[in-house]
């Protein structure tokens, strides 16, 4: 019997991790991506391997997902991670007032923290604000966004998944009753249109999910929410440095190669193909970032960019939970053959893929269970070296 064919639209984090999971469960997988791998939100993510501390007070579901997935990713893909930890630091009295809830939240979510004196924190990270009042050590990390995706994609390829990059989905094929049975695509390297049929189409296009669902006449279950990142040309810290307070703008500084990256902001946008840089947000990153690490004022910006989070619908900006949701459009709109995964964050890519693959496998009658928690990924370079 031929393997069931699953088309995944989008080669960002969710798409590549789902390709990896489904290939291992015995599906014939084709990933379709209009650009090159990771050209949208995933490539431009901040690169913080969340411990969950950021969400431990107000969004415990996300916090628990983060600490569990953080631990798994350190095990299966150490090749792309700086596992150096993170600090939450209090600069003002109002930050200190948040500490109690933070400690309780972390304990409740199973996030190990270690309280440090200001002196101990400064010994670990000499460039943080010397006026800090308190600090907590936490298992944050940094990852290389593209290579994280490549490791999943390369391993998926090794298990037989096909990747068609520079290929844009222009429409959904239907069976005459509105059910999805494949896609119309344009090979952008040659200008050639083709049809590809599939047993199920997975919409893993993140902030662009609404463009795909609208092809089936369905509403978008996503709120695109961009934010800015500014990379400065000095690696002033070895760990992620977070402001100890309610999540807000410019309150995370992350080491990345020879740089630090300050982020981010949060606002709503509709056309997310190109988000311009707003100068006031660049200034805000400098101000807020230098409250954590004063030396940022003596560093030069090296890269400034916007990334658009694909938040699940039902609110605005930071009030929306950072967890994710998988939709079977048979259940939501009586349209079979189409599944949309949205929300979530880079740190939870494997879990998002697991839940999406569970849904796909249930629909296809495949009983194989998820094995991605335990399986180390192959070298990210395999993505380029294995022929398509």
């Amino acid at each position: 019997m031929p393997k069931p064919h699953v088309i995944i639209i989008g080669a960002g984090f969710t798409g590549v991790a789902t390709a990896h999971d489904l290939a291992l469960r015995g599906c014939d997988v084709t990933v379709i991506e209009r650009g090159d791998i990771c050209n949208g939100t995933s490539g431009r993510t901040h690169g913080l391997l969340h411990s969950g501390g950021r969400y431990a007070v107000k969004d415990k579901e996300s916090a628990i997902e983060c600490i569990e997935e953080n631990t798994i990713l350190r095990r299966i893909v150490p090749q792309v991670i700086e596992p150096n930890g993170g600090l939450f630091i209090a600069i003002e009295e109002s930050d200190l007032a948040y500490a109690e809830q933070f400690i309780e939240g972390c304990e409740e979510c199973g996030i190990p923290i270690d309280e440090l004196t200001p002196q101990q924190a400064l010994e670990l990270e000499p460039h943080i604000n010397p006026k800090l009042l308190s600090a907590f050590l936490i298992p944050d990390g940094t990852f290389d966004p593209l290579r994280l995706a490549l490791a999943f994609a390369g391993t998926a390829k090794h298990h037989g998944a096909h990747f068609r990059t520079f290929t844009e989905v222009e429409g959904l094929l239907t069976d005459g009753q509105g059910n999805v049975v494949g896609v119309n695509v344009l090979d952008r390297t040659a200008g050639q249109p083709t049809e590809i049929r599939a047993d199920i189409v997975v919409n893993a296009t993140g902030a662009w999910a609404g463009q795909i669902t609208s092809m089936a006449g369905l509403d978008a279950p996503v709120t695109p929410t961009p934010g800015i990142m500014v990379a400065y040309d000095q690696r002033l810290v070895q760990r992620a440095v977070n402001r100890l307070n309610v999540p807000g703008d410019g309150d995370i500084v992350l080491p990345q190669r020879r740089m630090v990256v300050v982020g981010t902001t949060s606002f709503d946008a509709e056309n997310v193909d190109y988000i311009p840089i707003f100068e006031d947000q660049v200034q805000l990153m400098l101000e807020r970032g230098s409250e954590l690490i004063p030396g940022i004022r003596n560093a030069k910006p090296r890269g400034i960019y916007m990334a658009t989070r694909p938040l699940i619908s039902g609110g605005s900006g930071r009030s929306i939970a950072r967890t994710f949701k998988c939709y079977d459009h048979k259940e939501t709109h009586n349209v079979d053959g189409l599944v949309t995964i949205t929300g979530g964050k880079a740190t939870t890519l494997r879990l998002m893929a697991e839940k999406t693959s569970d849904m796909v496998c249930t629909k296809l009658g495949i009983s194989a269970l998820c094995v991605t928690k335990e399986m180390p990924l192959l070298s990210y370079r395999q993505y380029y070296t294995i022929p398509n």
């Binding site: 650009g35 000499p126 890269g303 070296t385």
Partner: protein, 241 residues
């Protein structure tokens, strides 16, 4: 952002089965934007058929290497101000010495295979990564931590190398630099790979690689050091050490 320039972005185009050409796009830009921002806007607002590679937009991933006015650049960190003038043209072309997929996008397959052959390290101890340019304030704890390697595998050095075009099998600057980073004393098995016709003796010391590297790797100097290591290792063998 206040200043506005009008420039012509001249973009190399090539589609499967068609002859290459240049397309001109007249654009209003801020000179303090990056070249990649202008390229991305061509795709977003002018010509949806444009193919190019990009991901991180801050010199971590190495995907957006192109030739800008004939010189290899990581376009996400190249300010428009530094490569053209108001009213002038800015030419972008794909990297050389790689097969073209389409337009500005090239196939990195053979390059990544060579990085794999020499076992290039992706993550290394932080003190080792910073050893040649140590930051002002070292903390003793820094020795315990790791960090991603400086080499972004962007391929700029391969494109700039005047020798890379002479042999498809030549390892080239970044893979040889990665071999030097591993060092023959720690990885003696590399000797056979690098001490060959398409290994480090093919380099003609043009140092174009070092000139274009966006990321402090200095492949040219590393290749020279690797030659010293290689001669040392071979003399050692000759005298039975």
């Amino acid at each position: 952002m206040t200043e506005k320039w009008n420039i012509t972005l001249r973009v190399y185009r090539q589609k499967t089965g068609q002859a290459p050409r240049f397309d001109d796009f007249k654009m209003e830009v801020d000179p303090d934007e990056y070249v990649l921002d202008a390229v991305e806007r061509v795709w977003a607002f002018h010509d949806r058929s444009l193919c190019f590679r990009h991901a991180c937009h801050h010199s971590t991933c190495g995907a957006c290497g192109m030739r800008v006015n004939g010189i290899e650049k990581l376009t996400c960190i190249t300010l428009i101000r530094n490569v053209t003038h108001n009213g002038d043209t800015l030419k972008v072309e794909p990297l050389r010495n790689f097969p073209i997929i389409s337009d500005l996008a090239v196939d990195m397959g053979s390059f990544y295979r060579k990085m794999e052959v020499v076992g290039a390290r992706a993550v290394l101890p932080v003190t080792e990564a910073e050893i040649e340019r140590p930051p002002a304030a070292w903390s003793p704890a820094d020795a315990l931590y790791t960090r991603l390697s400086d080499c972004l595998e962007c391929g700029l050095c391969i494109s700039a190398c005047p020798i890379a075009a002479t042999s498809l099998e030549y390892l080239g600057p970044a893979p040889l630099a990665a071999a030097q980073d591993r060092s023959l004393s720690r990885a003696p098995e590399l000797l056979e790979i690098i001490d060959s016709e398409d290994g480090l003796w093919r380099c003609h010391s043009a140092f174009e690689c070092t000139a274009v590297c966006p990321s402090f790797v200095e492949p040219g100097r590393r290749i020279m050091d690797l030659r010293k290591q290689t001669i040392g290792a071979k003399l050692g063998k000759l005298f039975g050490k």
